[in-house]
Symmetry: C2
Subunit: 145 residues, 2 copies
């Protein structure tokens, strides 16, 4: 089991992909995205519909349509994508699945898990969707299986 759901993995990979391909103002279609990140096309379509409704990606129908991102979108943190798809639980949930685990009522591993979760939280908050557009050597090269 990964840290994220598969849906969320596709979401992250697709926003990186869209960010990279459309920073110049172009748009990119669902087929191309699906190929570019090795995901099932129609399943990804659902995911992007959702991200589009939430304003995380933009979309346009018709010829020359497709998905794209604006300047504001590129600056959004990855944490917004994750939260939109998987919810907040990854940032706040108990590692042992206890609903009432908290600072005052901690499970055996509460504090240790908290430290790790916070690191993940920081990473996802500090990494923007457009982050890898500026680092030409790293990044986008690797989004396929």
């Amino acid at each position: 089991m990964g840290v994220f759901s598969k849906t969320c993995e596709y979401a992250i990979r697709s926003v990186f992909f869209i960010a990279h391909r459309t920073a110049d103002g172009n748009r990119v279609g669902i087929k191309e995205i699906a190929k570019g990140i090795d995901s099932p096309e129609h399943f990804l379509a659902k995911i992007l519909q959702d991200l589009s409704r939430r304003g995380i990606v933009q979309s346009a129908k018709g010829p020359n349509g497709g998905f794209y991102m604006d300047e504001v979108g590129l600056k959004r943190p990855l944490s917004e994508v994750v939260e939109a798809v998987d919810g907040k639980s990854i940032f706040i949930g108990c590692g042992l699945g206890l609903a009432h685990c908290s600072e005052t009522n901690p499970c055996p591993l509460h504090h240790e898990f908290k430290a790790i979760r916070n690191q993940l939280k920081d990473l996802l908050e500090q990494t923007t969707i457009g982050h890898f557009n500026e680092s030409p050597n790293l990044g986008i090269t690797k989004l396929r299986k």
Copy 2:
């Protein structure tokens, strides 16, 4: 989505519970364990059958039977429980779900994820199943929802 599957959460909570209740040589039945950690009894039975087959917990049938742990078992790291139930993927898998992500072929977040995963790995390797038996104030008090 939590870091562990629900099955694994139940597994961890149950080994902590069994360790605590049977360090003195007693045994504890499935009903009591299920109540003690707030889990579905028959589902937990399946999980413990598996852990028993793998030698992580011991079991005995019949009157005065139940689950228990020996000295060796108490010293086992929690990572063995997690690996038995959820497999290695949590320790080695790519955060973005890419099968061929690696040191030489890293995904955009490879190095960052690796650091976090390693922390989790260390925690699970350093915490033994019997760890909380010795710390009377912390620990076992909180395994129910």
